[in-house]
Amino acid sequence: MIPDQVLVARLRAGDEAAFTWLLDRYHGPLMRLARTFVASAAVAEEVVQETWLGLLKGLDGFEQRATLKTWLFRVLVNRAKTRGVREARSVPWSALGPEDEGEPAVDPTRFNARGRWTSPPQPWEDDTPEALLLRRETRAQLEAAIEALPPRQRTVLVLRDIEGVAPDEVCGMLGLSDANQRVLLHRARAALQRALERHRAEEDERC
Protein backbone atom coordinates (compact mmCIF):
# COMPACT_ATOMS: atom_id res chain seq x y z
CA MET A 1 0.00 0.00 0.00
CA ILE A 2 1.44 3.36 -1.06
CA PRO A 3 0.54 6.34 1.16
CA ASP A 4 -1.74 8.87 -0.58
CA GLN A 5 0.72 11.70 -0.11
CA VAL A 6 3.45 9.81 -1.97
CA LEU A 7 1.03 8.61 -4.62
CA VAL A 8 -0.36 12.07 -5.32
CA ALA A 9 3.13 13.55 -5.59
CA ARG A 10 4.16 10.83 -8.02
CA LEU A 11 1.01 11.24 -10.11
CA ARG A 12 1.52 14.99 -10.32
CA ALA A 13 5.05 14.35 -11.51
CA GLY A 14 3.65 12.14 -14.28
CA ASP A 15 4.84 8.80 -12.86
CA GLU A 16 3.19 6.13 -15.03
CA ALA A 17 3.93 3.33 -12.60
CA ALA A 18 1.96 5.16 -9.93
CA PHE A 19 -1.02 5.62 -12.26
CA THR A 20 -0.85 1.96 -13.32
CA TRP A 21 -0.87 0.92 -9.67
CA LEU A 22 -3.94 3.05 -9.08
CA LEU A 23 -5.72 1.67 -12.15
CA ASP A 24 -5.01 -1.93 -11.15
CA ARG A 25 -6.20 -1.31 -7.64
CA TYR A 26 -9.35 0.73 -8.18
CA HIS A 27 -10.71 0.11 -11.66
CA GLY A 28 -12.50 -3.10 -10.63
CA PRO A 29 -14.00 -1.61 -7.45
CA LEU A 30 -15.11 1.48 -9.39
CA MET A 31 -16.78 -0.73 -12.01
CA ARG A 32 -18.56 -2.71 -9.31
CA LEU A 33 -19.81 0.49 -7.70
CA ALA A 34 -20.86 2.00 -11.05
CA ARG A 35 -22.92 -1.10 -11.83
CA THR A 36 -25.07 -0.42 -8.76
CA PHE A 37 -26.20 2.84 -10.40
CA VAL A 38 -26.45 2.05 -14.10
CA ALA A 39 -27.80 -1.11 -15.66
CA SER A 40 -25.60 -1.27 -18.72
CA ALA A 41 -21.99 -2.45 -18.49
CA ALA A 42 -21.03 -0.13 -21.34
CA VAL A 43 -22.43 2.91 -19.53
CA ALA A 44 -20.71 1.81 -16.31
CA GLU A 45 -17.44 1.59 -18.20
CA GLU A 46 -17.96 5.15 -19.49
CA VAL A 47 -18.71 6.43 -16.01
CA VAL A 48 -15.51 4.86 -14.70
CA GLN A 49 -13.49 6.34 -17.56
CA GLU A 50 -14.97 9.76 -16.77
CA THR A 51 -13.99 9.21 -13.14
CA TRP A 52 -10.36 8.56 -14.10
CA LEU A 53 -10.30 11.64 -16.30
CA GLY A 54 -11.90 13.57 -13.45
CA LEU A 55 -9.04 12.41 -11.25
CA LEU A 56 -6.47 13.75 -13.69
CA LYS A 57 -8.30 17.05 -13.98
CA GLY A 58 -8.64 17.47 -10.24
CA LEU A 59 -5.27 16.14 -9.18
CA ASP A 60 -3.48 19.47 -8.91
CA GLY A 61 -6.22 20.85 -6.71
CA PHE A 62 -6.57 17.72 -4.57
CA GLU A 63 -6.11 18.77 -0.98
CA GLN A 64 -6.07 15.36 0.70
CA ARG A 65 -8.80 16.17 3.16
CA ALA A 66 -10.26 12.86 2.10
CA THR A 67 -8.32 9.78 1.04
CA LEU A 68 -7.68 9.32 -2.67
CA LYS A 69 -9.92 6.26 -2.59
CA THR A 70 -12.84 8.16 -1.05
CA TRP A 71 -12.30 10.97 -3.49
CA LEU A 72 -12.41 8.58 -6.46
CA PHE A 73 -15.59 6.95 -5.15
CA ARG A 74 -17.16 10.35 -4.59
CA VAL A 75 -16.40 11.47 -8.16
CA LEU A 76 -17.82 8.21 -9.44
CA VAL A 77 -20.99 8.47 -7.37
CA ASN A 78 -21.64 12.01 -8.64
CA ARG A 79 -21.19 10.98 -12.26
CA ALA A 80 -23.08 7.74 -11.89
CA LYS A 81 -26.04 9.52 -10.30
CA THR A 82 -26.28 11.84 -13.30
CA ARG A 83 -26.08 8.91 -15.69
CA GLY A 84 -28.59 7.00 -13.61
CA VAL A 85 -31.06 9.82 -14.12
CA ARG A 86 -30.58 9.66 -17.87
CA GLU A 87 -30.92 5.89 -17.78
CA ALA A 88 -34.16 6.32 -15.84
CA ARG A 89 -32.83 4.10 -13.11
CA SER A 90 -32.34 6.83 -10.61
CA VAL A 91 -33.64 6.29 -7.11
CA PRO A 92 -34.06 9.09 -4.59
CA TRP A 93 -31.62 8.89 -1.69
CA SER A 94 -33.49 11.21 0.65
CA ALA A 95 -36.25 8.72 1.45
CA LEU A 96 -36.44 4.94 1.56
CA GLY A 97 -38.63 3.00 -0.84
CA PRO A 98 -41.10 0.24 0.06
CA GLU A 99 -38.53 -2.38 -1.03
CA ASP A 100 -36.19 -1.11 1.66
CA GLU A 101 -38.56 -0.94 4.57
CA GLY A 102 -41.05 -3.76 4.31
CA GLU A 103 -39.22 -7.01 4.61
CA PRO A 104 -38.12 -8.39 7.99
CA ALA A 105 -34.56 -9.72 8.38
CA VAL A 106 -35.82 -13.25 9.01
CA ASP A 107 -38.98 -14.92 7.74
CA PRO A 108 -41.54 -14.37 10.56
CA THR A 109 -42.83 -17.94 10.24
CA ARG A 110 -39.54 -19.10 11.75
CA PHE A 111 -40.59 -17.67 15.13
CA ASN A 112 -43.43 -18.54 17.48
CA ALA A 113 -45.97 -16.01 18.76
CA ARG A 114 -43.54 -14.85 21.44
CA GLY A 115 -40.78 -14.27 18.89
CA ARG A 116 -38.67 -17.31 19.80
CA TRP A 117 -37.02 -19.44 17.12
CA THR A 118 -39.06 -22.43 16.01
CA SER A 119 -36.88 -22.99 12.97
CA PRO A 120 -33.47 -21.80 14.22
CA PRO A 121 -30.42 -21.18 12.05
CA GLN A 122 -28.26 -24.27 11.57
CA PRO A 123 -24.55 -23.91 12.29
CA TRP A 124 -22.51 -23.80 9.08
CA GLU A 125 -19.69 -26.20 8.56
CA ASP A 126 -17.38 -23.60 7.05
CA ASP A 127 -16.77 -21.10 9.75
CA THR A 128 -14.28 -18.76 8.14
CA PRO A 129 -15.02 -16.44 5.21
CA GLU A 130 -12.16 -18.01 3.26
CA ALA A 131 -13.57 -21.52 3.71
CA LEU A 132 -17.04 -20.29 2.80
CA LEU A 133 -15.84 -18.71 -0.44
CA LEU A 134 -13.72 -21.68 -1.42
CA ARG A 135 -16.91 -23.40 -2.48
CA ARG A 136 -17.51 -22.05 -5.92
CA GLU A 137 -21.28 -22.41 -5.62
CA THR A 138 -21.40 -20.45 -2.39
CA ARG A 139 -19.44 -17.67 -3.96
CA ALA A 140 -21.71 -17.61 -7.00
CA GLN A 141 -24.76 -17.58 -4.72
CA LEU A 142 -23.37 -14.66 -2.78
CA GLU A 143 -22.58 -12.70 -5.93
CA ALA A 144 -26.02 -13.42 -7.36
CA ALA A 145 -27.65 -12.35 -4.09
CA ILE A 146 -25.76 -9.04 -4.17
CA GLU A 147 -26.82 -8.46 -7.75
CA ALA A 148 -30.44 -9.16 -6.83
CA LEU A 149 -30.51 -6.50 -4.09
CA PRO A 150 -32.61 -3.35 -4.65
CA PRO A 151 -30.28 -0.64 -6.07
CA ARG A 152 -29.86 1.49 -2.95
CA GLN A 153 -29.16 -1.49 -0.71
CA ARG A 154 -26.63 -2.74 -3.21
CA THR A 155 -24.79 0.59 -3.37
CA VAL A 156 -24.59 0.83 0.42
CA LEU A 157 -23.48 -2.79 0.80
CA VAL A 158 -20.77 -2.43 -1.84
CA LEU A 159 -19.41 0.74 -0.23
CA ARG A 160 -19.58 -0.48 3.35
CA ASP A 161 -18.90 -4.20 3.28
CA ILE A 162 -16.88 -4.68 0.11
CA GLU A 163 -14.91 -1.44 -0.03
CA GLY A 164 -14.81 -0.73 3.70
CA VAL A 165 -15.84 2.93 3.40
CA ALA A 166 -16.76 4.47 6.78
CA PRO A 167 -20.48 5.04 7.50
CA ASP A 168 -20.25 8.84 7.65
CA GLU A 169 -18.40 8.90 4.31
CA VAL A 170 -21.11 6.76 2.75
CA CYS A 171 -23.82 9.06 4.10
CA GLY A 172 -21.97 12.07 2.69
CA MET A 173 -21.44 10.50 -0.73
CA LEU A 174 -25.01 9.37 -1.14
CA GLY A 175 -26.84 12.14 0.69
CA LEU A 176 -28.29 9.63 3.14
CA SER A 177 -29.17 10.08 6.78
CA ASP A 178 -27.29 7.92 9.24
CA ALA A 179 -30.45 6.04 10.19
CA ASN A 180 -31.44 5.33 6.58
CA GLN A 181 -27.97 4.16 5.73
CA ARG A 182 -28.22 1.65 8.55
CA VAL A 183 -31.65 0.46 7.41
CA LEU A 184 -30.33 -0.15 3.89
CA LEU A 185 -27.27 -1.96 5.21
CA HIS A 186 -29.41 -4.05 7.54
CA ARG A 187 -31.81 -5.12 4.78
CA ALA A 188 -28.95 -5.92 2.44
CA ARG A 189 -26.98 -8.01 4.93
CA ALA A 190 -30.11 -9.86 6.04
CA ALA A 191 -31.00 -10.66 2.42
CA LEU A 192 -27.53 -12.12 1.81
CA GLN A 193 -27.74 -14.20 4.95
CA ARG A 194 -31.15 -15.52 3.86
CA ALA A 195 -29.74 -16.41 0.45
CA LEU A 196 -26.78 -18.30 1.91
CA GLU A 197 -28.98 -20.07 4.47
CA ARG A 198 -31.31 -21.23 1.70
CA HIS A 199 -28.34 -22.37 -0.30
CA ARG A 200 -26.82 -24.30 2.62
CA ALA A 201 -30.16 -25.95 3.36
CA GLU A 202 -30.39 -27.13 -0.25
CA GLU A 203 -26.87 -28.50 -0.09
CA ASP A 204 -27.61 -30.38 3.11
CA GLU A 205 -30.70 -31.93 1.55
CA ARG A 206 -28.61 -33.24 -1.29
CA CYS A 207 -26.10 -34.93 1.06
Partner: protein, 81 residues
Protein backbone atom coordinates in the same frame (compact mmCIF):
# COMPACT_ATOMS: atom_id res chain seq x y z
CA UNK B 1 -36.62 -9.52 27.71
CA UNK B 2 -35.64 -9.17 24.07
CA UNK B 3 -37.18 -11.80 21.80
CA UNK B 4 -35.14 -13.68 19.19
CA UNK B 5 -37.15 -12.01 16.43
CA UNK B 6 -36.45 -8.55 17.86
CA UNK B 7 -32.78 -9.41 18.17
CA UNK B 8 -32.49 -10.25 14.46
CA UNK B 9 -33.70 -6.71 13.69
CA UNK B 10 -31.16 -5.13 16.04
CA UNK B 11 -28.10 -6.99 14.77
CA UNK B 12 -26.91 -4.23 12.46
CA UNK B 13 -27.35 -1.47 15.03
CA UNK B 14 -25.46 -3.67 17.50
CA UNK B 15 -22.58 -4.37 15.10
CA UNK B 16 -22.45 -0.69 14.15
CA UNK B 17 -22.16 0.26 17.82
CA UNK B 18 -25.37 2.27 17.57
CA UNK B 19 -27.43 0.66 20.32
CA UNK B 20 -28.03 2.63 23.50
CA UNK B 21 -26.50 1.33 26.69
CA UNK B 22 -29.64 -0.46 27.85
CA UNK B 23 -30.41 -2.08 24.50
CA UNK B 24 -26.80 -3.14 24.20
CA UNK B 25 -27.00 -4.80 27.58
CA UNK B 26 -30.26 -6.57 26.68
CA UNK B 27 -28.74 -7.71 23.38
CA UNK B 28 -25.68 -9.16 25.11
CA UNK B 29 -27.73 -10.87 27.80
CA UNK B 30 -29.88 -12.51 25.16
CA UNK B 31 -26.86 -13.64 23.15
CA UNK B 32 -25.32 -15.04 26.31
CA UNK B 33 -28.36 -17.22 26.95
CA UNK B 34 -29.61 -18.12 23.47
CA UNK B 35 -27.57 -20.50 21.37
CA UNK B 36 -29.72 -19.99 18.26
CA UNK B 37 -29.19 -16.25 18.29
CA UNK B 38 -25.47 -16.81 18.85
CA UNK B 39 -25.50 -18.90 15.68
CA UNK B 40 -27.46 -16.21 13.85
CA UNK B 41 -25.02 -13.49 14.91
CA UNK B 42 -22.00 -15.62 14.05
CA UNK B 43 -23.37 -16.35 10.60
CA UNK B 44 -24.21 -12.70 10.02
CA UNK B 45 -20.61 -11.78 10.82
CA UNK B 46 -19.43 -14.55 8.52
CA UNK B 47 -21.59 -13.23 5.67
CA UNK B 48 -20.18 -9.71 6.17
CA UNK B 49 -16.60 -11.01 6.20
CA UNK B 50 -17.20 -13.19 3.14
CA UNK B 51 -18.64 -10.23 1.20
CA UNK B 52 -15.47 -8.30 2.07
CA UNK B 53 -13.40 -11.07 0.51
CA UNK B 54 -15.07 -10.99 -2.90
CA UNK B 55 -12.44 -9.88 -5.40
CA UNK B 56 -13.17 -7.25 -8.04
CA UNK B 57 -12.74 -7.92 -11.74
CA UNK B 58 -9.25 -7.03 -12.96
CA UNK B 59 -8.96 -4.09 -15.35
CA UNK B 60 -8.93 -5.22 -18.99
CA UNK B 61 -5.55 -4.64 -20.66
CA UNK B 62 -7.07 -2.53 -23.42
CA UNK B 63 -8.73 -0.21 -20.93
CA UNK B 64 -5.51 0.13 -18.95
CA UNK B 65 -3.53 1.01 -22.08
CA UNK B 66 -6.10 3.58 -23.17
CA UNK B 67 -6.15 5.25 -19.77
CA UNK B 68 -2.35 5.29 -19.65
CA UNK B 69 -2.41 7.10 -23.00
CA UNK B 70 -4.75 9.66 -21.51
CA UNK B 71 -2.38 10.00 -18.56
CA UNK B 72 0.53 10.71 -20.94
CA UNK B 73 -1.58 13.28 -22.83
CA UNK B 74 -2.55 14.94 -19.58
CA UNK B 75 1.08 15.07 -18.59
CA UNK B 76 2.11 16.44 -21.99
CA UNK B 77 -0.45 19.25 -21.87
CA UNK B 78 0.61 20.38 -18.48
CA UNK B 79 4.39 20.39 -18.18
CA UNK B 80 5.67 20.66 -14.64
CA UNK B 81 8.74 22.76 -13.87
Amino acid sequence: MLSCQELTELVTAYLEGRLGLLDRLRFRMHIGMCQHCRTYLREQKLVIAAVGHLPAEPIPDGVRDELLDRFRDWKGEDPKP
